[in-house]
Symmetry: C2
Subunit: 275 residues, 2 copies
Amino acid sequence: MVVGLLDGRVRSGAEPLLRPDDAGAMRGEGVFETILVQGGQPRDLPEHLARLAKSATMLDFQGPPDADWLHGVHAVLGAFPGGDLVLRLVSTRGPAGAPPTCYVTGTPVPDEVLRQRVQGVAVLLLDRGFAGSDAAAAPWMLTSAKTLSYAVNMAALRHARSMGADDVIFVGRDGAVMEAPTATVVVVRDRTLVTPPLDGILDGITVVRLIRAAQDAGWATAYERLTPDDLSAADGVFLVSSVRLVAPVTSIDEVPRPGAERAGELLDLLDAPPR
Amino acid sequence: MVVGLLDGRVRSGAEPLLRPDDAGAMRGEGVFETILVQGGQPRDLPEHLARLAKSATMLDFQGPPDADWLHGVHAVLGAFPGGDLVLRLVSTRGPAGAPPTCYVTGTPVPDEVLRQRVQGVAVLLLDRGFAGSDAAAAPWMLTSAKTLSYAVNMAALRHARSMGADDVIFVGRDGAVMEAPTATVVVVRDRTLVTPPLDGILDGITVVRLIRAAQDAGWATAYERLTPDDLSAADGVFLVSSVRLVAPVTSIDEVPRPGAERAGELLDLLDAPPR
């Protein structure tokens, strides 16, 4: 791992960086973004910087200006010239009375990500414990911020893996499909692309890019309440996220499902130049 | 802040300790305990060590043995001989492939804590977004683990403070009183002490101590579903936690309430020697 600081310095990931009293380390108080770099080019960098700032605002602190982040990003990109990698931008609230702790990491794209794009993922439906609409009414639940308090997402993924699955789709207490721990759910029906409304879930950057590209290509698109039955009935179900891009769902609760071959269409849409 | 490592070394809080790729810093994957030290004596240390280990198990990692923690604790206590302080024991999952990152911090007891014990707290009732029983049925929600993913608790407290209150009592979607972001809710009716059942909330160490002492002193005690109306009707409402011990609730949603003077009885119970 390469670590870039916002003054442009590069360090090793093995060198301690955070103080023990950093609010990020003590209470998960911070925000982050993960960004895919292909051939040296970060995807959707302005959108990720905008979401990072929005998440920080929801946690009631202000991170550095975009120009500072770009120093850190370019410092890391310089260590992988022209390469493919994963960037992670992290901003904690910092220690009490100190400014936010901000850094950028660069790591190779995990083999698992590349494999799941091609082979797809076996998914378990898990109860999210609440309804998206209820979470949206309680803004302190921070469901629309991408915070460092990610232990629940990680616990859900571990639970799925202990059951032999690869990933999770959370279902709300109202029976509505919500999101995956690190991805947005997208359903394809013929030439229509559907994703759940944003109540209580994160506004995905890659899914917005996908929706625009699909519209440009003449598809119909909708934010629409989906149930597990809707997933079963769809032509294809996909997990869409910044690093994995598109992973076809090949089974839900151990029931195999078709449509994985349509992942290629979605990947093509993502890579189509805007009209 | 004094920081004790588990090999007994003491460091300054200003010295970076966590790697940027530590799962605690990246995803709030870790556990912690806060412990009050009075006259050099940590309160309920074995119980806190047991809960720390239990929380780590819920996050599917194993922290160090108690004997190692005691090295860190005693290193910090040595910097405050015979004093009053707050200990924080932190164990993150660590960087991928590395052992957990473990440390103990020692800080003076905040003035605010001492003030709230005496003057009490104005409390806002906030919607938790889910029902405790639903969370209990979804163990990946980790509501019974004390994790570093505390951003929601901090956001709720900030919301309360922006409304002129000091603290929060969370109410579940089923209308049941749950807990405060960093404390257990206790209600007193005559010589009966009532606290909510453990569905979807943290098992408080100080409240267990209080219940035992109350029983020893001839009080009735119960884990019982409470509603906001039950809080209004009670003789006294208190927030009970390891550092603040007992803070009387002096108003709920800006409506003043009586009973603060009974905090002294509860503090006396906590300090009574076991029969």
